[in-house]
Structures are given as C-alpha cells and as structure tokens.
C-alpha cells in the first residue's frame, strides 16, 4: 500500500512546478481580483476590457485571477506579475485604465504609475511593499488565515498544495498523528468557535468523537447571516481548500465520514468555488473514498441555503439540511448527541475549521504567538459603515478598536455616533466605549455587548440610533422562526414601538414596555429570541439621551420620519425643477417661484435633495401629538 505521504509528495512535485511557472511566468500575466466585492465594483467589466486590449494588440501577456486582499475601497484590483516574479498591485482599475495596465505589463514601466498600490512580491524602484500599506498596519507581517490571498489563484488546487496545503493532513492521514492528538492540539492552541459563542473547538470535537455509533457527521456553518460580516465569504472565495482541509482534519479527529457545508444563497461565488474545490480534492484523492490510499472516507457536500437567518443557529441549520423548515429546536439533545439525520454531529463555523490546518502544521505554541491569553490566534474582521476604508483584515485578538478605526481612515461624513458589532443579535456601542474596546469578546461585556462573528460597522451622527435600532428590530422580527410566542410576538411589539417613536409618536410607557419585552424574550427557546432585544437594550443603556430627545420630538440627525419635513429652501435655484420632476409621489405643490412640499404626501425618500441639495432640505418638525 502506498504511503499517504509518498502520494502527497508526488502530487506536491507537480504542484510546485505549476506554481513556480505561475509565480515566475515566461511572459507577464495580468490577474484581476475576482470576488463578490470586486464584482460589485465592476471587476468583470475591467477584466473584459483588459482582455479586449490584449487580444486587439495580440500582446504577449497572459490573463489570470486572484482574490482581493481586503482593501475593498480600492476595487477593482488588478495585479501584474513579471517574469522575474515581481508582482505589482493596482487599483481602482476601471475599463478606461485597461490600456495603461496592458502598457505597463508589456514593459512600458510607468504607464500605470498612478494606479499602483504596492508590491505584492518582489521589488521595483519607488513602489512600496503592499504590507506597508497603512490599512495593514495592525495585521501580522505574515498573514495566516489569509496567507494565500493574492498569492494564488483561488480556483487552483495546485497552488494551494504548493503553498504547503494538505501537507499537515497528509502526515496526519499517514498516521503520523492519532485522532486524540488532533483534538489535543486544537485544545492546546486554545482555538474557540468563531461563529460567535466562543466555545472551545477541540472540546466540541471530543464530544463528537466520544458519541455513540459509527455514523458521525461534520457540519460547517457557512450561513454567515449577519449583515455587515463577510469573514467566512473571504475564506471560501479566497482559499476554499483551506476550509476543506480544516474539515478533513476535523473528520479524522472525530471519525466522521460525511460532511456538509451549509452555505448561504447570497454567496453564489463562494458556492461555485467550494463546489469546484471539493470536486478537485476528490479527483486528487484528497477527499471521498480511500483518501490518499489510507482506506479512510470523508465525503463532503455543499448545501445551498435559501435566505433564512435562523438557519445559522445550529439546530435550525440541521433541520434545514434534513428537508425541513429550518427552525431551531430545544437543546438538549445537542448536535453531538442528535444532529443531522439524528446522528451525532458537530457544527463549526467556517473560520473555526479554517484554523485547523494552520494549527496542525505549525503547532499550538506557534498559534498562540498572536492574540491574548484568553483569546488566542488571529481572526478575520470586516469593517464597514461611515469609514474611509471599507474592507477586511486578519487581526490578532486584543487589538484596540480605536487603532482599527484609525487604519480604516477614520470616520467620514460626521462624528462617530455608534459602533455596531455582532450583527442583529449584537450590540450598539457608544463612542465613549471606543478607547476601552479591544478585539476580544470579553472586552465588550462591560457594555452589555458582544463582539460576535467579526462584522463591525462604524456609524456616524448623520443617522439616528433609533433608526438603527428599528432596522435591526425589524430584521429579527422578520427572521423569527415563529416557534416561540415570546419571540415572534415580542419582536413584533418591539419593532412597532420603535417605529412609532420614529414616527414622532413615542409614549412615556414605551420604555417600561420595551424593558418588559426584553425580559419576556429571555424565555425564548433559542439565542435568536434571547438576544433579539439586545440592540434596543443598548439603545436605552448607552443612548438614553437620544431616546429621551426622540420622545420630546427632537432628532438632530433629521432621519426620524415623523420629526422632520422636506422643505423648499431656495425658490430660484434652477435645480428645483429637477427636484419637482424626480419626486416619485408628486409631492411638490404650487407654481414655479412659489413651490412647497406637501408634507402629507412626502415619503421622505430624499430624491429631491439628491438632485437639488441647495433648493430643498430637511427641517425639524415638532411632535404632532402630545407626549404622555
């Protein structure tokens, strides 16, 4: 029987050759970053434009693809790799820049100088290393989870292998480690679940290993439903084999033969890349039956979700896989006792699994070099909202959040008003928390807050915190599975009250009622119901002055629908006619020179202000009903 490692080494030799040819190509290659964010920025149009220029000129240039680095505000990104292995990154590259990029790749150095961001690898006079970009100042010099981004084609198994991929698992499969050792090293590393609850991953694997029967299932939670979080997406689109290898290690350590990746429908590219990577791994003998000739089996399949937030709750996820409504059920039994098809199962987040190959390869001490005593290693975070630089980073736990805001270029459009972490079941933190927060779950606790799965949204003072709270309240109401009266009824009430306040019709009894709803929701079955009042609670705790002001009928942000009106501010601005024409509900009254907005008709969409900001504006409006 051929040894697993020998089989791996043979595979590795081919992969090394292919990767070397990609890293030091015979002729220059232009790679366009293709991921969900770059596509939204027009990367496919940029790629098509570059293709046209290359073929029109019959240029001696190849085309390829990478995944973006995290600097999303500079999308679309393009990188050029020269035969000496130097790779230059450019962005934002629009179709109009295609000529310049092809010129520069063809040897006319300087043609695209203004688009250069930095050197991915190698050196060129006057071009800084990408790692010196201020956005990456808080990242480890050497990325871990994101180590392959920009340095591989995410759709190439060979590239992954050539970058040491599947090496640790080949050693493991060749019985250089035992199942117990696998789980022990995860525990020693201190790896905890990245899905939000921070439960030690190795301990969960112990539960499954010790569970009855032979039929064990390994499930990956790739539902990533928190709006503002796209941490898991980056792993699956950028390095899909890292997740597969992580699950392979988990399967070995727990004796699981079947795995599922439950992937949200909103990530079509992640679905495509994961499915392709699974097929590649199977074809290479790294997945499926008789893996690397060891007789071991691990089959893996993507289950495509269909837009239900609570399917991210692990028991909801399990019932969704089993052809049912994805409703969370009562625990116990826990998944390790009764999971998919009533068999013992383990559910972990994408990022939890993705850490496993790194830990197995480098050991637990290496892993603990970053992070803190209580939160070891690194984690991917996505930052968005009213900041200058939107994107994702891999950060050691413990980094001060104030520093993060700094490298994100600070606030734009206004002062920091609130920090939103942990998604709709998460938190709303006040500006005064910023100097005290570090990226570690328990640092958020004093604020009755959670850090969550890695999405953090910075909000400026141009939006009311009540409007933010209403938005999340409406989300959790909509996504309640309906099993518990507390949850579906309580969340309806919570949303209705917030809506009424925004409408300028708040009541004194609203606050005690919101608190009563909060207490009632604690009796819900799952964390969805239990955590759904958290943002509103944070509103009352940390933004009480804003809440009180709203009740009185004051809203300095002029975003609470019932507390402002749209008015004509300049009758003689020529743009006013455009404002009248754009209004979708024909709310303007009167002839030119004497125009006004009919407040009852106006839906406050803001379209008129968009086209005529100097002719129309917002004006505070007092409550129309007395406060009692």
């Amino acid at each position: 029987m051929p040894d697993a490692l020998a089989l791996y080494d043979a595979m590795r030799a081919n992969a090394d050759a292919a990767y070397a040819a990609w890293r030091n190509p015979e002729r220059p290659r232009i790679d366009v970053a293709i991921d969900q964010s770059s596509i939204s920025n027009g990367a496919l149009r940029t790629r098509a434009a570059i293709e046209r220029v290359v073929s029109a000129r019959n240029a001696a240039i190849d085309l390829g693809r990478v995944h973006g680095y995290g600097i999303q505000w500079l999308h679309p990104l393009v990188q050029v790799t020269f035969p000496d292995g130097a790779t230059v990154l450019y962005g934002p590259v629009t179709p109009a820049d295609a000529e310049a990029i092809v010129d520069e790749a063809s040897g006319r150095w300087g043609a695209a100088a203004s688009l250069r961001i930095g050197m991915v690898t190698g050196e060129r006079d006057g071009v800084p290393s990408l790692r010196d970009h201020p956005f990456f100042a808080l990242e480890p010099r050497e990325r871990r989870l994101l180590r392959n981004l920009g340095l591989t084609d995410p759709e190439s198994l060979e590239h992954y292998i050539a970058r040491d991929g599947y090496r640790a698992s080949a050693r493991m499969l060749g019985r250089h480690s035992t199942e117990d050792q696998i789980r022990t090293v995860m525990n020693d590393a201190g790896l905890t679940g990245r899905g939000g609850a921070n439960f030690p991953t190795g301990v969960k694997w112990n539960f499954l290993f010790g569970a009855a029967g032979e039929d064990h299932y390994l499930v990956c939670n790739a539902d990533e439903g928190d709006p503002g979080a796209w941490v898991n997406r980056v792993v699956m689109e950028g390095d899909p084999h890292l997740l597969i290898e992580g699950m392979l290690i988990g399967a070995f350590g727990t004796r699981s033969k079947q795995g599922y990746i439950y992937l949200r429908d909103e990530y079509p590219l992640a679905i495509a890349r994961m499915e392709q990577a699974i097929a590649q791994a199977e074809a290479a003998g790294l997945l499926g039956e008789d893996i690397l000739g060891t007789g071991l089996t691990f089959r893996l399949r993507v289950i495509r979700g269909a837009g239900a937030y609570v399917c991210g709750e692990e028991t909801g996820l399990l019932s969704s896989i089993q052809d049912s409504r994805g409703m969370p059920r009562v625990k116990p039994p826990f998944p390790a006792q009764r999971g998919v098809f009533d068999k013992p199962s383990n559910v972990n987040n994408v990022e939890s699994y993705a850490n496993a190959p790194l830990i197995l390869m480098h050991g637990s001490d290496w892993y603990r070099q970053y992070g803190t005593e209580r939160a070891t290693g690194t984690k991917i975070f996505s930052f968005s909202g009213d900041i200058a630089r939107v994107g994702f980073m891999e950060l050691p736990f413990g980094v001060p959040l104030a520093k993060v805001l700094e490298v994100c270029g600070g606030m734009v459009g206004g002062e920091l008003k609130a920090i939103q972490s942990g998604g709709p079941l998460g938190s709303l933190l006040p500006p005064q928390s910023l100097p005290k927060l570090i990226l570690q779950g328990d640092s958020f606790s004093p604020w009755d807050a959670i850090m969550g799965g890695g999405g953090i949204v910075f909000c400026n003072d141009k939006t009311s915190v009540l409007v933010l709270a209403e938005m999340f309240a409406a989300f959790v109401e909509e996504e309640s599975c309906g099993r518990c009266t507390t949850c579906h009824g309580g969340n309806q009430r919570q949303t209705e009250i917030l809506r009424r306040i925004i409408d300028g019709r708040g009541r004194r009894e609203d606050e005690p009622n919101l608190k009563l709803i909060d207490r009632t929701l604690q009796f819900s079955n799952c964390v969805h119901g239990q955590f759904s009042p958290k943002i509103t609670r944070n509103l009352l705790q940390h933004f009480h002055a804003d809440y009180e002001a709203a009740l009185r009928g004051e809203d300095p942000s002029l975003t609470m629908a019932g507390l402002y009106r749209v008015v004509v501010t300049n009758q003689y601005d020529p743009a006013l006619a455009e404002a009248v024409a754009i209004c979708p509900v024909d709310a303007f009254r009167g002839p030119a020179g004497n125009r006004s907005v009919d407040d009852a008709a106006c839906i406050r969409c803001g379209a008129c202000i968009d086209v005529a900001p100097k002719a129309v504006g917002k004006q505070a409006k007092a409550r129309t009903v007395a406060l009692n």
């Binding site: 969900q36 709006p227 289950i303 909202g385």
Partner: protein, 173 residues
C-alpha cells in the same frame, strides 16, 4: 397512465437525480426555481414524489425561506440591500423611492404588468459601494450589482425599467 403535461415531464427530469432522506430538498427546490423562476404547485408535487415527501411538507419547508417564490417573477427584479452600511446611506429612502416610483405597495411585490419587481436583499459584503441594489433577470440569469445608489438614481432606474429599459440602460439612467 394519463399523459403528463410537458412541464411535469420537464420537472421530473430536472429532479431525477435527487433522493429521499439525503438532504436533497433545498437543492431540488433551487434547481426548479432556477429553471422556472418560481415553484409551482405542480413542482411541489413532483419534488415530493421524488423525495418521498407530501407536497404539503415540500411547500411547508419551501415557504420558510425568503428566496423561494411561488408566483411567476417580474421580468426584472430590483433586489434592494437591507444591510447596515446601505441603511447608513439612505437605504430606506432608496427602498421607498423604488416602491413609490413603481407603484408597488410592499417589498417583494411587482408592477401590474409584471415588468418590474422589488425584492428584499441581504448584505453580501460589498459595503464599500453602499448603498447598493442588484438588478436581476431570471430569464437570462443575469445579476448586475449597482453600487453608489441614491434615492434620485433609484427613481430614474425604476422609471426606466418600468418603461422597458434594459438592465444596462437602467444602470446608466
């Protein structure tokens, strides 16, 4: 045996590879919706037959999910991003402008002539272009993300689509 309708034959062929008790329901529903744009009563029946489930079970499960549709979809759907980064930039105004311009009373509705619909979307992590929408045409399987929206742009886009514009024309409207 009575002759089956043409659509039924097509449906059967589409779901032939799926098996009972194998976690195949979501995949079967997606496959059919991809092909037909929505899930008909006939589709519930055929999928149920294939997976050994009552049509009521199939419908019960399918109706749990936001993405499954039970009526023919509009020719072009405007998928509105409901995520936080988009809301911070007048996402609500964009939503209301879209609905009002098209005379649609509520999210997930469509114009009477079936030309344009507005459906709920979720953040997929392209928040740097917030606020955004996606223009989708089921027949050609087109999805076009449109970032840096404004309420005014939403009105122009909606009016253009209502008047028969292509996705490209609507994007540049």
């Amino acid at each position: 045996m009575p002759l089956e309708t043409e659509s039924k034959v097509r449906l059967r062929a589409l779901v032939a590879e799926f098996r009972p008790n194998n976690g195949d329901l979501l995949a079967a529903l997606h496959r059919v919706q991809h092909e037909f744009g929505y899930l008909s009563a006939e589709a519930m029946e055929v999928i149920g037959d294939q997976l050994g489930l009552f049509p009521a079970h199939v419908y019960g499960a399918a109706s749990y999910y936001e993405e499954f549709r039970f009526e023919p979809q509009a020719h072009t759907n405007i998928r509105w991003c409901s995520g936080p980064a988009c809301r911070l930039r007048n996402g609500n105004g964009i939503r209301d402008a879209l609905l009002a311009s098209l005379g649609i009373g509520h999210m997930n509705g469509q114009t009477e002539d079936g030309r344009v619909g507005v459906i709920l979307g979720q953040c997929n992590g392209a928040c740097e272009v917030a606020p955004m929408v996606w223009l989708e045409q089921h027949e050609s399987h087109t999805i076009e993300p449109v970032g840096n929206m404004s309420a005014a742009r939403a009105v122009r886009m909606a009016r253009a689509l209502r008047d028969g514009a292509t996705i490209e024309e609507a994007t540049n409207a």
